[in-house]
Amino acid sequence: MSDVPAPRHIPDRLDKPFSSAIFSWEALLIMVAVAIFTINSFASPYFLDPYSLSDLTFNFTEKGLIAFAMALLIISGEIDLSVAAIIALASTMMGMAVQAGAGTPVLVLIGIVVGLGCGAFNGLLVTRLGLPSIVVTIGTMSLFRGIAFIILGDQAYKGYPESFAFFGQGYVWWVVSFELVLFLVAAIVYWFVLHRTSFGRRVFAIGNNPVAAQFSGVRVGRIKFILFCLTGLMSGIASVLITSRLGSTRPSIAQGYELEVITMVVLGGVSILGGAGSILGVVLAAFIMGLVTFGLGLLNVPGIVMSIFIGLLLIVVIALPIVWRRLNGGRLT
């Protein structure tokens, strides 16, 4: 009888061999990012300029902020398609407040609270009533943006106070914008929450097996509710930034952002089926998408053609490891 005792020592984190780090998703993304960066700097003489690079960051900071919360939500096995509509509704509410003479602090508060409220509404529908999030948020997406359309019609809100412009247009230091700082701070916070706290561990547990997580004492419903609130909150913050950057509100603001945010998250290596992903991947994916759109923009490629590259990038980056594995002995997953 080989009586092997159970291992006494269970490490908090598995020691990953160096080779696995090289072949990890993040490494692949870094290579893609470096490649695109190099191509860009050869393709356009205007690319390698601090001010150009600073402009570049505006392409992904707002969507990236939402993508962090969305990453957690998708890891937990849910999804939120209403983020862009939340931006529109929050922006409309801020616009109404401006008409009523609200100052900058009130505007920011309104944006954040409306975002949080919308997220909580999604969360309640999904967790309390047990509805599939993809359908619920398709519904709330129409509802939130629909309310913005009812209020605004074909009009636009303008006349935001000058101090409000700082959030979307201001620079903290030299070419480092407020948006970029916020993006980096949020990246660190979300990285810490997801990868270094028990809350993050629970999010992964729920995504891998919600039933097992529940039996292990994880409050699945509550955590999912919190994640929906977080996604709403980040959309509210993004709404403040976008409204401040554009200086006006139309009901069609941020149209189609939801798909770009999800593309960012999936490109970042988060499994759309839940249970796997990392914040570093999402940060890299945000950079890559920003690089692609900005680089092509410098080459005067129209936005709609850029979207082809984003779409191809999404499919190719997902398909590549699968094809690679097939070619290397046909091992499955």
């Binding site: 009533l129 519904g139 593309t263 053609v305 979207s307 082809i308 779409g311 999404l314 499919i315 699968i322």
Partner: protein
Amino acid sequence: MTALLKYREIWLLAAIVLLIGLISTRFPAFADPGNLRQVFNDTSILMILALGQMVVVLTRSIDLSMASNLCFTGMVVAMLNAAHPAIPIPLLIVIALVVGLVLGAINGLLVWRLNIPSIVVTLGTLTIYRGATFVISGGAWVNADKMSPDFIGFQRAAFLGIPVLSWIAILVIALFFLLMTRTALGRSIYAIGVNPTASVYTGIDVGRTKFVVFCISGMIGGLSGYLWISRYVIASVEVANGYELNIIAACVIGGISIAGGIGSVGGAVLGALFLGIISNALPVINISPFWQMAISGSAIILAVMLNARGERQQGRIILRKAEAV
């Protein structure tokens, strides 16, 4: 009678009748058969699209690229018509079906052969197909004056007092009804949605069936491309932008479960009609069309709440994933 009440289609039908009743209290002419025929005609394209989406959703997949497919194929046929007005319309429809089929097959192959989740694949092709429309058209529009009279007139021609567009919708509904209730493929589509693992053990090729449903939704997207362009007589990159979510909304309102396996042809048709009636009714009862989005959003949320009550009881899932292929 009580057995009949179990069908959610009956409830949806009752809701639609009630809706028409409510509208006609403010605008009596709305319930006029002539007007209802018009509403049906206006909703034809959405009904066709919802049916294409239905077969995909039934297999636990989703096709977000249908509206982009519609846009691309519509542009192809519009440009063909502008360049060669002599091409007969039936041939153009065949071309639309083939182009749509190819786009759908690309989705299907990626889902089948590479096992990429359909939501990721079609999210990618959603942007690619619309971008490709820009590439082939150079951003230019094809306007009514470049289209041949036949191209525009074909679907408007009346046959037995009903426009050809409505007849096409009726034909598609009939074909889908036969497919879902009278063929082995229809059975396997339901089986995969209810339990993919069991489907594998009963000899259904899950991957290939998914490929086939994406081909079907692609062909539907292509067909709708021609119908849409010839109806609204303009082909541009912006055609049907964001419409994929309306299609899914019609399915959800029609009681098709996004989790797969539950749904019927009648449901998809009624779900589309429900949305069609709302968009037709708002202007005549003097509500700003800006209300439409919020109303359909609320309808989706209500519908999914009602659907969920019917779906609670389900078989226990013992094995999580199907060992497909």
